[in-house]
């Protein structure tokens, strides 16, 4: 615990942070209009008994215009008996409703919503519509960019339903939750730009928390990450997610996340 606090302090002290292309949260900014992106999120989570849960979440993203973008995502994992299985999918939409730009800084606000389907067994009290529960999430994001530093925060409401066809949501458990996040990112390299081909390196730190509405149980995770941006077009993110505390049942909160992303600019005329 002390170690984690120390790491946190180092990260906060590094501040004059940039980049808001966070690993585990979305910023209030959108991708460029008429662009198309592909993403693959790989989560290697450690279960208490030593078993490794692998979640693969391929995703496609579309910038409709400067205000709207949508994502479609699939959830594949090896959690079920019999190996890899497609467990579900989701649709996500984000609407940027406020934007104030200044030289090398901006402040943005956005609303977002996600609806997910999942057929896997319900095995923990934590609610997670990204890859575990059928349900929806609706939230608000605010992001501030100050030169090389980006700070973003979000608040959302999450509601879980039955994982049809086989798994009912247990009536004894809380089926709704509030989620809150705080993310900080800083552009570390290059110090001076010379071309779009330079590799950009960003360091980030994210805090992710949840509180279950019906029983007040909660958790808070910390996730430091490093991000490489190649040719100003491709992204490789590597994060480690660690539980700081939890009063609810979670089967595999800690693990490594590898995220790959590629943007096709002006894909739609």
């Amino acid at each position: 615990m002390k170690k984690i606090l120390f790491v946190t302090l180092i990260f906060i002290n590094l501040s004059s942070f940039s980049q808001e292309l966070f690993v585990l949260t979305e910023p209030a900014s959108n991708m460029p209009a008429k662009s198309f992106g592909i993403r693959n999120m790989n989560a290697f989570m450690f279960e208490a008994d030593g078993k490794l849960n692998y979640h693969n979440m391929p995703e496609i993203m579309w910038g409709i215009n400067k205000k709207w973008m949508i994502h479609a995502q699939g959830f594949i994992s090896n959690r079920q008996e019999g190996g890899f299985e497609t467990e579900g999918g989701s649709l996500y939409a984000k609407y940027r409703f406020f934007s104030e730009d200044n030289l090398k800084s901006h402040f943005r606000m956005a609303l977002y919503g996600r609806y997910s389907l999942n057929k896997a067994d319900i095995h923990q009290q934590e609610l997670e519509t990204m890859g575990h529960n059928t349900g929806y999430e609706a939230g608000f994001i605010a992001t501030q960019l100050l030169h090389k530093v980006a700070i973003s925060s979000s608040l959302s409401y999450e509601r879980a339903f039955d994982n049809k066809p086989n798994y009912k949501f247990p009536i004894t458990e809380s089926n709704s939750a509030m989620n809150y996040t705080l993310s900080v990112g800083k552009l570390m390299l290059p110090k001076v730009y010379t071309s779009y081909k330079q590799v950009n390196v960003n360091l980030m730190l994210e805090l992710l928390g949840q509180r279950l509405n019906q029983n007040g149980k909660s958790y808070l995770d910390i996730a430091p990450s490093v991000q490489f941006i190649i040719n100003s077009q491709a992204r490789i993110d590597l994060a480690y997610r660690q539980e700081l505390y939890s009063t609810m049942l979670r089967t595999a909160p800690n693990g490594v996340i590898l995220k790959l992303e590629y943007t096709f600019f002006n894909a739609f005329k």
């Binding site: 959108n30 991708m31 460029p32 209009a33 030289l103 730009y193 950009n200 077009q233 002006n266």
Partner: protein, 170 residues
Amino acid sequence: MKKLISITIFLFITYVASSQIIRAELTATGLTCSMCSKATYNQLKSISEVELVEPDLNNTTFIIHFKSNTPVNINNLKKKVEDAGFAVGELVVLFKFDTQVAENNTSFVLDNNTYTFMDTKPSTLNGEVRLKILDKGYVIDKEYKKYLNMAKRYPSYVSANKNTYHIKTL
């Protein structure tokens, strides 16, 4: 009164067939990262009248060269920067004139767009001249408010639409 103003403005409009837009220097706001800059660069490059875009990543500035003998719509530059997710902080346009009188509240028409001088010292412009666009969406908000306070002296500034621009000599 409105009629009188429009008539006055109309009388001041001089048609200069030989003037043209050669280049634009655009500073985008709200970005620092190379991915954001590249998104903006690609959007600007996709405009049909644009010949070449030279990006300056450190200053988030783009020098935009236009094709010769092609009508230029400045509004397209603004739209594309906003499509990339950012905004225009400054736009300086390089015009080529063959004797153009620059006087406050006088206008000229080029490629169906009306350009009106404001906050400018009276002079006669010849050859290549850099002019800054002062309208909303082409300057940062603080600057726009400053020009809005001058609106009494420049009645057309408040009612500017996408085919009318207000310019200042630098």
